[in-house]
Point group: C4
Chain length 202, copies 4
Amino acid sequence: VAADDEENASVGFASDLGRTIAFSDGVFAIAITLLVLSIDVPDGFARKELGEFVRDEWPQFFAYFLSFAVIGRFWVSHHAQFAMLRVIDPRLVVINLVYLAFVCLIPYPTNLLGGFNESSVSVALYALVVGVASLLALVMIRYTRRHDLLVPVAAARAAASERALIVPPIVFLGSIPFAFVIPSQTPFIWLLLAVDGRFRRS
Amino acid sequence: VAADDEENASVGFASDLGRTIAFSDGVFAIAITLLVLSIDVPDGFARKELGEFVRDEWPQFFAYFLSFAVIGRFWVSHHAQFAMLRVIDPRLVVINLVYLAFVCLIPYPTNLLGGFNESSVSVALYALVVGVASLLALVMIRYTRRHDLLVPVAAARAAASERALIVPPIVFLGSIPFAFVIPSQTPFIWLLLAVDGRFRRS
Amino acid sequence: VAADDEENASVGFASDLGRTIAFSDGVFAIAITLLVLSIDVPDGFARKELGEFVRDEWPQFFAYFLSFAVIGRFWVSHHAQFAMLRVIDPRLVVINLVYLAFVCLIPYPTNLLGGFNESSVSVALYALVVGVASLLALVMIRYTRRHDLLVPVAAARAAASERALIVPPIVFLGSIPFAFVIPSQTPFIWLLLAVDGRFRRS
Amino acid sequence: VAADDEENASVGFASDLGRTIAFSDGVFAIAITLLVLSIDVPDGFARKELGEFVRDEWPQFFAYFLSFAVIGRFWVSHHAQFAMLRVIDPRLVVINLVYLAFVCLIPYPTNLLGGFNESSVSVALYALVVGVASLLALVMIRYTRRHDLLVPVAAARAAASERALIVPPIVFLGSIPFAFVIPSQTPFIWLLLAVDGRFRRS
């Protein structure tokens, strides 16, 4: 019976890794494409001059490109992590879904940040959602290392990834208090990540 | 002529299983990602404090995460079911489309539930849509078992899946009367599923 | 040089069929999932009773399920057509894109039909968009038959498909005049297709 | 250690090309399908006659089909470019993401163009976004040629592609000044591309 169970389980989980990767890729692709819906057509657009339009709308374009970079970076990182997997287990499927729930939520704080870039709540919520998503990315790499789900040759690389993935949650979650003091300047703290070479190379 | 027909049919249905899985995965990925659009930017957001924002918006975040969990669970379950298939027939393609029509509808009651969490109609509609979708998942596993579409080694596992999949439609459809008496409390009935170990392991 | 060109061309078009199918599947999956956005939350929802809600909203649910069936049917049919292809040429890529432009447009008349089911313009536009899409499906099967793009064993089946695919454009485009006389009843003309066995089996 | 690093790197990048193509295809498919959301239901629709509806709405349908053709053309071109790749490097992944950020933005100026087709800002923004995206397509083909990422037999074809891809950024970016003088006529300048045979064949 045990052997049978083993066999049955292997039937179901043979293609799990591939299907989870495909599903995650789909979710990333959709979340990144939905960002455009967060840019509103301004009231009274028909009478606006170019200068006025740019002055009113730049926070929305800034939020769009920022979130595109954030989700794009998450995708590249997820991609690298899952390429090192030998196999996936049901618990990792769940952690990955929770992680994706936060990635998919990003268009909402993007919308708030683009429309209300001087509001503490917008900035703090953005930092919280991206911070939790990056924390879950760290949790996933730890989990795969501890539960021996990686291909053997990837060990050194996974250790380096884990070290690099500690930085983003610290930056985003650590920026939350600043959102309540200097909301307009807080996004510049996040941009520090772009100059962190170790993170960039991960 | 019959042999010819047989051959022609096999041309068309060789890649059917793969394409149906890919299409279904795409639909799940899109439906789950569209959930974020159900969270509205509140009126007068610019003047809101954090406490006020959280107090006003928590039903929307609750509805978002609930539906993310529901669609995620449907995906994992669909995934396991279709991994056991040996072949697909045209009728299963149709049942699967009807099932997907209800899965894709979930963002609508999610929107109502997030915005009007004390309305009986919101809660009842949510329970109805999710209940019908889970009923159709049960119909699919029954159909594949009766029409010999499964790989032989999966027989025991499919029987266990079918038993486990009886629970969700009972919980959701059975909660509809409660929606008209205790609408705000009805979602807690649904959360019982999360503690049902047999269902969780399926 | 000619041999070189030949070779270069084959480099680019080796994976074209697969990528076109994947792209088309993605477009079908997204278009079908976007339909849910056409269902509006009614004004004054919070104060509505179930009966009132159903009475006001049923045309929206009808339009949703109708379009889900229409796009689902288009997908099954596209699926069967492309499974018979041996190779794809650049012109078929273009025809397929024009066809997809009409499939992707379906959520718009669905929205109009759900909100204004007694308007002649809604009904006529719906019939026009679906009619043109089904006409283009017919054009595609003709094109693949005439330009020898099919696998040889599929010849009889493709001929049968072409005959069956003549029916939907006639029904939809032919119903347009009725939209200006009996708009509310015109959708029932479309449902005739569901009872046409030859079409159903195609 | 160097050999180890080499090996580790190859683990992560073995499936990179395939996953990048799949991700890009997903983004194209979603962006093209979201275009339909840019067509608004007109105010007072219920009382409109067909003639009035067509007169009010044709700019929206024009913008929809124009952008469908633009994104479709980008997809065919991206498709041909990536089919010539032997391998992908991390920098190309980044350039491709920046390119996709502009492709995904297209629904926004489409919305403006459809709603305000006589506004200079709409027309200029449309030309800018499409122009930058086509410039980035040119940058990508240059990059792949200079960094030896192509399959050897594709050399002549890639050179021809690069020459053809110079035209669209010139047309779109060059049309921006016209947007401020003759906004309503500027889209006709873009249509010149459709008659440029060399570009069409690329």
